[in-house]
């Protein structure tokens, strides 16, 4: 057949495959979401969001403390993960040194592969043992360390793609280097960096294993940041592995709430940083 025809066919085929890929990717989410709603939807009521866990067999009971706990842990993790991640990513994208960035990049990829339970044990040795108690701080540290590689690598790749012309324009106008980086490069890359941060938050919101040895979990409202604190992922885990159907339903409801929370945080962050859109499109 004529070359043009072949190209047109290939074009149609590839576009179709890309669409099919997107569909296949969403399919598990729909299935899992459906599973959660079907199994746990009945447990979602006002009590769920305002009450604390009740023993099995008693009506009501909720995960209010776990919801708040997860938010606090995410905030703490961001305090650790965001500065190191974003600044580190900037360094990797901008530095002209031939060797050190290569090492840092490699280490970040390796850290990404360390199982979360190992990071939890590391935080346990670093924070819990010296303090002689489990705490929200330890949980924040563990989750923050997990966040670092994701934020770091994403920031690097996005910043790297900011066209040099923008940077040069800033310098030509007499701006100092750091101002160019912060006010032009970072702002341009903002949307991409925010996506990276949201992906990292999504990841840590669902982590259970590292919290077992650090934040520990708490059936009551936390009192201070250096005391054990509840978390949705922990509570979901504890309920899911129990023998009781009522707790199972609450576990699925908890998972639904967790996913929705991440959704809302993501939405809020997107809206807050909308301003300057990707100016390349």
């Amino acid at each position: 057949m004529k070359p043009l025809q072949k190209r047109v066919i290939v074009n149609r085929l590839m576009n179709f495959l890309a669409g099919a890929a997107a569909l296949l990717v969403i399919l598990p989410l729909v299935l899992i979401f459906g599973f959660l709603v079907y199994q746990g939807g009945s447990s979602l009521n006002l009590a769920f969001f305002t009450q604390m866990p009740k023993p099995v067999g008693e009506a009501g009971g909720g995960m209010a403390n776990a919801i708040v706990g997860t938010l606090i842990l995410i905030a703490l993790a961001c305090c650790v993960g965001l500065p190191i991640g974003i600044l580190g990513g900037l360094y990797l994208a901008e530095s002209r040194d031939p060797r050190l960035p290569w090492v840092v990049r490699f280490l970040a990829d390796v850290l990404n592969g360390v199982p979360s339970i190992v990071i939890g044990i590391f935080a346990y040795t670093l924070v819990v043992l010296p303090m002689k108690r489990f705490s929200a701080l330890a949980g924040g540290v563990a989750l923050g360390v997990i966040m670092i590689p994701i934020v770091l690598r994403t920031t690097e790749e996005i910043v790297r793609l900011v066209p040099a012309s923008l940077r040069e324009a800033g310098l030509a106008l007499g701006l100092q280097n750091w101002k160019v980086t912060v006010r032009i490069v970072l702002v341009t890359a903002r949307a991409g960096i925010v996506t990276g941060v949201m992906v990292a938050i999504a990841r840590i919101a669902g982590e259970t294993a590292p919290l077992l040895f650090t934040a520990f979990g708490n059936r009551f409202w936390h009192s201070r940041l250096d005391q054990p604190i509840a978390a949705l992922a922990l509570q979901v885990f504890a309920y899911a592995i129990s023998p009781f159907d009522d707790w199972h339903r609450q576990a699925w409801a908890g998972a639904l709430v967790l996913i929705s929370m991440v959704f809302l945080v993501s939405l809020a962050a997107r809206l807050a940083t909308r301003g300057l859109q990707r100016q390349t499109r």
Binding site: A21, I26, L29, L87, L111, V114, P149, E157, E207, F263
Partner: protein, 332 residues
């Protein structure tokens, strides 16, 4: 020193700005120095954390290393009661399950990213993108339980008999269909890593300047050819970064995998057979490890996982470098 990046690809005339340019004071230099210091501090902290983790792993696994040495890596027996430990089945399980997972997730993830960045109608992009990101927020334990209650029975009743019937001559698809096993683990891993790959790839593709696309279109390329020649090539390093991000997740994933992999420390060629991964055995047995040697052996497994991660990352980068060539000067 942190200077201006000479850019890549889109700047063919990329001569770096002359050094003298930076020596000329433009306003106070304190801002630059402080900023540089802050950045170096962040990098230093990161290096400290990594060193701490590696050191902790090495120190804690010393007793096991001294006792078993390298035979630990080739040994196939894992007996906590008799204190005979060998990690080969776990290494095999980690590599195979990650391979299966990536085999499924990479084409799907990048394909979905292409769709979202280039082809989807504008009104659909944000919602679909959001949905994919949400996948990353599902807790691993939910994946695991969904795997036991929905995926494994589905595999056992429909998929594995079908594969065994049609492709059963391959050793990959032989053996009784349990439902749980390497295939289930690979599929769960692919579902868990695809949001990372898709999301980051999408951001990378969106950041490719329009000039690239316009140039290709001006030359008469079809939509797909534009994507292939101009966009994907330009963003290649970013795509590799996205895939490595997903790979890291696959290698270290614990909870979901251990619920559907069958947890049998045996090496088998078939995807239907149960297996065991390094992260799983660590999570399963760490809290209950009784003796010092047992604990040390488990940490040794953790150390080996680190080594495997390093090697896989190195291999991936090597692959990209040799295949990709130096068209865009990949600076890895």
């Amino acid at each position: 020193m942190i200077g201006v990046d000479a850019g890549r690809g889109g700047r063919a005339q990329g001569a770096p700005l002359p050094r003298a340019f930076f020596l000329t004071p433009r306003g106070s230099l304190w801002g630059d120095r402080i900023f540089q210091g802050v950045v170096y501090a962040a990098v230093g902290l990161f290096a400290l954390v990594m060193t701490g983790i590696v050191l902790a792993l090495v120190v804690e696994s010393m007793p096991a290393i001294r006792r078993f040495g390298l035979s630990f890596v080739t040994g196939q027996e894992w007996d906590p009661v008799k204190e005979a430990f060998g990690a080969l089945p776990f290494i095999y399980g980690t590599l195979l399950s990650s391979l299966v997972g990536m085999f499924i997730a990479v084409p799907l993830g990048i394909g979905a990213a292409i769709y979202l960045a280039e082809l989807a109608p504008f009104w659909a992009r944000a919602p679909i993108g959001f949905l994919i990101e949400l996948l990353a927020a599902v807790p691993s334990v939910v994946y695991g339980l969904w795997g036991i209650f929905v995926l494994a029975p589905f595999l056992r009743s429909w998929v594995e008999p079908l594969l065994g019937g049609t492709l059963g001559f391959l050793p990959l698809f032989q053996g009784p269909p349990y439902g749980v096993g390497m295939l289930a683990a690979g599929i769960i891993l692919s579902i868990m890593t695809v949001p990372f790959i898709a999301t980051v790839s999408r951001e990378v593709l969106l950041a490719v300047p329009n000039t690239q696309r316009e140039a290709a279109l001006a030359l008469g390329a079809t939509r797909w050819e534009t994507t292939w020649i101009a966009v994907l090539r330009y963003g290649r390093s970013g795509l590799v970064g996205a895939v490595l991000l997903g790979l890291g997740r696959a290698l270290g994933e614990t909870m979901a995998v251990t619920m559907v992999i069958g947890n049998r420390p045996e090496i088998s060629a078939s995807l239907f057979a149960p297996g065991y991964t390094m992260a799983s055995v660590l999570a399963n047995e760490f809290t209950e490890a009784t003796s010092d040697v047992y604990l040390s052996a488990l940490v040794y497994v953790g150390l080996l996982l680190l080594v495997v991660t390093v090697m896989v990352n190195a291999a991936a980068r090597l692959l990209v470098w040799t295949v990709g060539g130096s068209v865009k000067g990949i600076r890895e």
